[in-house]
Amino acid sequence: MTAARASSARAIRPAGIAAAAGALLAAACAGTPLGSSRAGNAQDVVAALAASAAPARRPVNARGAPLAFVATTGPGGPKLIAFDLAASQVVWTQPAELLGRVVAGRSLIVQAEKGGSLVARDVQTGNVRWESPLAAGVRRKGYAVDGDDVYQVLAAPGGGKRNTFRLQALDGATGAVRWNVDLPGLKAGGPAVRGGLVAVPARSQYVSLIDGKDGSERALILSREEAATFVRALPEGLFYGSKGVFAVSAESADGTRKSPAYFQANLPTFVRATYHWDMYYEDQTNYTAIDRNRLLWRAEMDGPKAGFANGMVVVHNFRFFFGFDAKTGDVRWAYNHPRVDAVASEHTGGSVVFVAADGEIGALDAATGQRTYSARIPDAAVRGATFDAEGFAPASPGGAAGVQPLSAALASVVWDPDRRYSDVKIFAVDQLARQPGRDVTGQLLKILGQEGVASAIYQKAAEALVARKDRGAADLYIKALEVRTDYIAKTKTHGLDVLAKAAGVMQAKEMAPALVAHLGEPDTGLLAIAEIAEALVAMDARESLPALRDFLCQYRADPVFARDPAALIAVAEAILKLGRGSDHDLLLFVAEEPKTLEALRTHLRRALFQTARSGRSSE
C-alpha cells in the first residue's frame, strides 16, 4: 500500500458527476499496510476490534424506522421504493434502475445504478445526493456504508492480465474521496464495515481489517482451512467464511475449523448452504437468484465461542422457509409462501422478513416460523430488496396457539402444486414422516394414493409408511385399501404393495380382509399380490386361505404368469405356511398336474419336499 492521502474524486451536489473516473485509481493512496508476516496475528485482530464500536440493535437509518428498499420493474419503468414496515406504508418512490444492491446508511442509501455509477440517495426522500461514476475499464467489486461513510472496492486493469485493487472511502455527504488504499495481491472482494472497521476479503484466504478513518490496515486474518469468500457485519460482530462462518476474533485470526469461533450448520442435502454471497464476484452485488435460495442466520457469542443465535439457521428456498436446528439438522418449523417466490429476505434478529415477487411483504417469527406480519406494495413486480430493519419483530398473533403445527406446515409443502421444488418436497416428506400421529400417517397415505406424485416423493412416503408401524392408524390403512379401481368413479388403487408390506410389518390382522379382496381384482399388480401373500403369512391370517386357493388355482396354468411367476409362487408359499392337510394336498396336486406352469411346479415340489423332510425331522 502507498501511504499518501487522496482527494481526487469530487462530490456532485445534488446529482452531478464525480471527478474524472480515470483518475480514481491513479490517485495517491493512504493507509498503513501490514506485512504478510503479520497475517493471522491474533493480537492485531483484538486491537482492531477494540477500536471499533458495536452498532446498536436497531435500524441504522435516520428515521429510526424499519425500512425495506424495494427494487421493482413494470410498465412504469424500474423504480426504487422505500417502505416503512412499522407503518406499513410507502415512504417514497423514485425512478431508478438498479445494477447493485441497496446498502443503507444513516442519512443515505447507496447503490449501483444504470451506467455503473454508485449513487447516493437521501434516505428520507430518495432524491439523489451524489453519484460516483466508474472510469472506463474499472469495475466495482462491492460497497458498504457505515453511518454516512461509504466504502467501495474497485478493480482496474493492471499489467498483463492482472488487476489492481483499491479500497476507497467516500464522504457520505458529498461523495468526495476521503482516501484510497491499494490492496495487495491479485484478488479482492467487496467490503463490509462495522463500527469504523472495514473488512475486505482478499487473495481468497485473507481478510484485511482496515481502519475506516485513514485506511490503515489494522489486522490481516489468514483463513487457513477454507476460502474467505465473504465478510459480513452484524451488530453482534464481524464475520467471514465460505462453507462455514468465522466470527472475527483472536480465535479466528488464523482461521481453522477447530477454532471455537467457527460455526457451520448441519443441513439436509437439498439446502444450498450459501451463508452469504461470494464477494469476489461483482455480479453478486446485484439482486440475483442467490437472494432467493440461501441461509439466513444470526450469531451469538459466548466468550471465545461463536455459534448460531438460538442454535438455529433459517433456509430460504424460493417460496419456502425452514427453521433448522443448526446442530442436529432437524427442522423446527416450515413456512410455505403461496404462489410466488420470496425474492429477498433478511434475519432481523427476532424475525425473518421477506418480500415476494408480487410485492407482498411478510415477517416470520424466527423461533417458530409463525407469520407475524403482512403488508403489500401495490402493483409491484419486485426484483430485489434490502432491509434496514434490525430488531423488527412484530408480535405473534394468537401467541403460541397461533403457531401452525410442523406436520401441517410440512404437509402444505408436500401438497404445493408447484412442480419445480421436488427436492424440497422430498425433504418435507422425509421430515413429515418423522412426526408422530395419525394425521401424519393420513398425509403419507394421501401421498400414496395421489395420481401423478413424483416417484421420489412416493418412495419416501412408502418407506415411511412401512417404517412407522402406526398400528393405531390401521383404520386409515384399511380405508386406503378399500379404494378400488373404478372407471366410473375415476378411482384407482395406488400403493397396494406398500400398504400390504406395511400391514405385514405391523402384523395388523384386521387389515387382512381388505388385502384379500384385492386378490380377486383384475388390475392388482403382481408385486402387490406377492406382498399381500407375504403379509397374510406375517399376520397369520388363516381365514384368507380360500382366497389364496382361488387365486392359485385360477392362474396356476395361465401362461401370463410364465414370465414372472413370483406372485403365484408367493401365493403358493402362503398356502403352504398357513394351510393344513387338505391345503397341502391341493399344493401337491398343483405341483404334479401337468398343466401347471413349470416354474410353479418346480418351486412347489422343492418346497413340499423340504416341508415333508422338516416334518420328519421334527418327528
Binding site: 379401481t485 372407471y487 383384475p522 392362474y555 394336498d585 391341493l586 401337491l588 415333508a612
Partner: protein, 306 residues
C-alpha cells in the same frame, strides 16, 4: 409323510373331486347359497360329481330335466382335464349344449382347479348355457380374472344365471378398466332389465362410453332421458343418438317419444339420422304416431339439405 406318499394321497384326492372352497361349497349344495368366504374348508368332495355306482355311460344331449349318465359325465370330465385343448374344448361345448342339470359339475370343477384361459373361457361359456345357479361362485371369481376375455365371458354367463347376486357383480364390472368388459356388463345388465344399473350407465355415457349407450337407452327413465338430451354438445353425438334411438324402440308414451325425436333432430350427424330411420322401421304400419311424423319430417329435411 414322504413326498411320494403324499403324491399317492393326492391321486386319491383328485379322484374324489374338488379342493377349492368354492367348488366344494357350490357343488355340495343343491341350490347355490355358498360363497367363497373366509373359513370355508375344502375337506369334502363334490358329491354331485361323484360317479354313481351302476350308472350307464351314455353320450348325447340329455333330455330336459334329466341328468347325463355317470359314464358320459366321467368321460367328459376326463376330457375337460386333458392335457391338450381340443378334447377339453369339445367336452365343454358338449356339456354346455346338453342342458343337463348335472352337466355343470365338471365345468365348475375344471374352473375351480384351474385351466388354461382357452379352456376356462369355454367352460364359462358352457356354464352360461346351462344357467345353473350352482355356478355363481366360480363365475364370480372369474369375473375378476386378469384376462379381459375371460372376464367378459364370465359376465355373460353370470347374466344368464337367475341369481340376484349376479347384478352386483355386473354393476361392479361397469367400472372395469377394459372398455369391452364394461360393454358386456352393460349389455348384460340391460338384458336383465336391472334398473339399478341406470345411474352408472348414465355416468358412462357422460364419459362417451359407447358400450353403455344402447343399454342406457333400454333402462333409462324419462327423467334420465331429459337429462341426457341436455348433454348435447358435451357428449359424443353418436353415443347420445344411440341412447336416444334405443329409447325410442321402447313401449313408452308417444309424447315422450316425440320429445326424444325432437332431441335427436337437434343432434347433427349420421348417428342421429340412423336412430330416426331405425325408429321408423319399428313403428307398426297401421299406427299413427306424432313422433313418427316428426321423425319422418326430420329425415326429409336432412335429405333435402344434402
Amino acid at each position: 409323510m414322504t413326498l411320494r406318499a403324499a403324491r399317492r394321497g393326492l391321486l386319491a384326492f383328485v379322484a374324489v373331486g374338488g379342493w377349492l372352497a368354492v367348488s366344494q361349497a357350490a357343488l355340495a349344495a343343491p341350490t347355490s347359497t355358498a360363497t367363497s368366504t373366509p373359513g370355508a374348508t375344502p375337506s369334502a368332495g363334490p358329491k354331485a360329481t361323484k360317479t354313481k355306482p351302476g350308472a350307464k355311460a351314455k353320450g348325447g344331449k340329455a333330455a330336459a330335466g334329466r341328468g347325463m349318465s355317470a359314464d358320459t359325465l366321467e368321460k367328459l370330465r376326463a376330457d375337460l382335464n386333458a392335457d391338450s385343448d381340443m378334447p377339453a374344448l369339445a367336452a365343454a361345448k358338449q356339456l354346455g349344449a346338453s342342458g343337463a342339470p348335472n352337466a355343470s359339475g365338471p365345468l365348475i370343477e375344471v374352473l375351480a382347479v384351474g385351466a388354461r384361459p382357452s379352456v376356462a373361457s369355454a367352460a364359462i361359456e358352457a356354464l352360461g348355457s346351462l344357467k345353473d345357479s350352482k355356478a355363481f361362485d366360480v363365475l364370480e371369481i372369474y369375473a375378476g380374472n386378469r384376462n379381459a376375455e375371460v372376464r367378459s365371458r364370465a359376465l355373460r354367463a353370470l347374466g344368464a344365471i337367475p341369481d340376484a347376486r349376479a347384478a352386483d357383480v355386473l354393476l361392479a364390472r361397469l367400472g372395469d378398466t377394459a372398455p369391452d368388459v364394461r360393454a358386456v356388463a352393460a349389455e348384460t345388465l340391460a338384458e336383465r332389465k336391472e334398473a339399478k344399473a341406470e345411474p352408472r350407465l348414465y355416468e358412462l355415457v357422460k364419459r362417451n362410453d359407447s358400450g353403455a349407450a344402447a343399454p342406457l337407452g333400454i333402462l333409462a327413465t324419462p327423467d334420465t332421458i331429459a337429462r341426457l338430451a341436455e348433454l348435447q354438445g358435451r357428449v359424443d353425438d353418436n353415443v347420445l343418438a344411440t341412447t336416444l334411438g334405443e329409447y325410442l324402440k321402447r313401449d313408452v308414451l308417444d309424447k315422450l317419444r316425440l320429445e326424444v325425436v325432437v332431441a335427436l333432430g337437434k343432434i347433427p350427424g349420421a348417428g342421429a339420422t340412423t336412430a330416426l330411420v331405425e325408429y321408423l322401421a319399428t313403428v307398426p304400419e297401421k299406427e299413427d304416431r306424432p313422433s313418427e311424423a316428426e321423425a319422418q319430417k326430420i329425415i326429409d329435411q336432412r335429405s333435402t339439405a344434402k
